[in-house]
């Protein structure tokens, strides 16, 4: 009986009518984490690309940090999904016998493409020369590790570095559409479900993409400040200003797209509108209006907008940037929450709602979600120790 306790509680608190099978919410907090973490990956990578492809020099100090952040989160990106499965050890079937009409099956390959071909390769070409140098400096086991990481290619000639540079650049170019694809695809997983009017919109992949960029940029901004604080280094305020500028622009686009989606729903007011109106005004009021729109959008937009015109002292700016990045990260988390949980709160019969309570104490999904969000930071710390951006060799001079 214990197992069904929360379900009986939900049953006792139903609003209106709901199909009996809909009382149980199948996609819990872990599925909220999944698009959230994937979004952070895509966003961090896009920020790295801004520096490299669009040659925005002010962003140079964050280039490696963004890439390593993207990699750290990418490595666990599928874990919320897998640990949520009813049969987690059967996940390999998705790669062995993918069902080609399923958005989720293709995601496995989009993920592998992005991880193996884009992220790992770009980092590899970026660090290959340095790893060769470091393998020469180190002794014993670490020497072997760096050697193995270079795949035993010990060429340090300027020609080989030029080749690295060229290929790395090409991969970044391929990487931008790949990052778009990766997160657009996550949006498509939700947007393609015609049974659910809260999800089923062509805007979904685009909104997911831009919110991903927003969250990824905010995360790198946060990590960049945190790393400098921990290393007792001075943060390059010009770099932060530039990140903030891009965060501001993309946040505007993101907010516009989301507003457009809502305005479109409100004006079209199709058969699902009445129930969605009740959903947003009722069950989602706090997470939607307060967290997503208020804390996640309005506050960062006004602060960043203000900073475009007035520049207070460096210290104040840094504090503001720190607050903004946290606000954005929280806001985007609630955006995912509103999509994933919100989409399951109302009945597909359009006649009522179920409820979802996060079980903070005993909820296994909560612990796993926290775990999958914390682990990437440890991975990142390890990566920064293994491949420290601040010990990289000087770049080759421009010809």
């Amino acid at each position: 009986m214990d197992k069904f306790e929360t379900l009986y509680e939900a049953l006792a608190n139903l609003d209106g009518f709901i199909y009996p099978n809909e009382i149980a919410l199948n996609w819990d907090l872990l599925i909220v984490m999944y698009p959230y973490i994937t979004g952070l990956v895509a966003g961090a990578f896009i920020l790295a690309s801004l520096n490299r492809v669009f040659d925005i020099k002010a962003l140079r100090p964050t280039y490696e940090i963004s890439l390593l952040t993207a990699l750290a989160f990418m490595l666990v990106a599928t874990m919320p999904l897998i640990s949520h499965l009813g049969q987690p050890f059967r996940f390999y079937e998705m790669l062995i016998t993918p069902h080609l009409t399923s958005a989720m099956a293709i995601f496995g390959f989009v993920y592998l493409w992005y991880l193996m071909v884009v992220l790992l390769l770009e980092i590899w070409f970026d660090y290959r020369y340095d790893m060769v140098i470091w393998s020469g400096e180190k002794k014993g086991f670490m020497r072997f590790v760096y050697r193995a990481l270079t795949l035993w290619v010990l060429d340090t000639s300027p020609e080989s570095r030029k080749t690295d540079e060229k290929i790395g650049y090409f991969i970044t170019v391929v990487g931008i559409p790949s990052a778009f694809l990766l997160h657009g695809y996550v949006g498509f997983i939700f947007g393609s479900i015609k049974a659910n009017p809260w999800w089923s919109t062509v805007m979904m992949p685009v909104i997911f993409l831009f919110s991903a960029m927003v969250s990824g940029i905010a995360l790198v901004m946060f990590i960049y400040m945190a790393v400098n604080y921990l290393r007792r280094q001075k943060t390059d305020i010009f770099c932060l200003d530039t990140i903030a500028k891009y965060l501001f622009y993309i946040l505007i686009i993101d907010f516009t797209l989301e507003s457009l989606d809502q305005i479109h729903r409100i004006y079209e007011a199709d058969e699902s509108f009445d129930i969605l109106k009740l959903l947003v005004r009722g069950k989602l009021f706090f997470t939607f209006f307060i967290m997503q729109i208020g804390i996640g959008t309005i506050i960062p937009l006004s602060v960043l907008g203000f900073l475009q015109f007035k520049k207070p002292r460096e210290r104040i700016r840094k504090i503001l940037y720190l607050i903004v990045s946290i606000c954005v990260l929280v806001g985007i988390f609630y955006m995912r929450w509103n999509v994933v949980i919100g989409g399951q709160l109302f009945s597909k019969s359009f006649y009522g709602f179920t409820s979802y309570k996060v079980d903070l104490i005993g909820g296994i999904d909560v612990w796993l979600s926290v775990l999958w969000f914390v682990i990437p930071f440890f991975i990142l710390a390890f990566l920064l120790w293994l491949l420290p951006p601040w010990k990289k060799a000087e770049e080759l001079p421009h010809e």
Binding site: Y92, E93, L95, I96, T97, H99, L100, M116, L121, W124, F125, R128, L151, W152, V153, D155, S160, T163, D164, I167
Partner: protein
């Protein structure tokens, strides 16, 4: 071709080779027999033993009751709706007894007055008013109901 590219291509070839090998060994036997799913699943699902055995099977032994019932208003109701599934009883009738319905509560599942019930199809009563707590079967024989 630069050396590092050659090494990388080799590493990727190894990776793709492992993936293809896994795909070859882990794909189930009857995959794509009918479509992109395990063909054997159809047999496995069909292999489950039915629990409700059908009225004809009941009448093989209980022919007198069957004949009575088939003439009455309850003729369209299968024996097992009231008496429970018969698959165990058919095999070992002495050990596995069929159940008897639990009195009036059972009858009013169909016969309680409800505006949503079409009057033409089913006789309805206000149970409390109609029987005053008396068990339905003390007046009505469910195998040969009268009005």
């Amino acid at each position: 071709m630069p050396l590092q590219v050659k090494r990388l291509l080799l590493a990727f070839a190894v990776f793709i080779g492992i993936m293809l090998g896994l795909k070859y060994f882990l794909t189930p036997d009857s995959w794509r027999e009918y479509g992109p799913y395990r063909g054997k699943a159809l047999i496995e699902i069909a292999d489950k033993v039915p629990k409700y055995v059908d009225m004809e099977t009941c009448i093989m032994c209980h022919d007198s009751i069957g004949e009575l019932k088939i003439q009455g208003l309850h003729k369209s109701i299968q024996c097992e709706i009231c008496h429970g599934p018969g698959y165990l009883h058919v095999d070992e009738p002495e050990i596995n007894k069929m159940k008897l319905p639990a009195g009036s509560e059972f009858c009013i599942q169909c016969h309680a007055r409800n505006a949503a019930r079409p009057d033409k199809i089913i006789k309805q009563v206000d149970a409390a008013e109609h029987s005053e707590g008396e068990n339905c079967i003390s007046c009505h024989n469910p195998h040969e109901p009268w009005l």
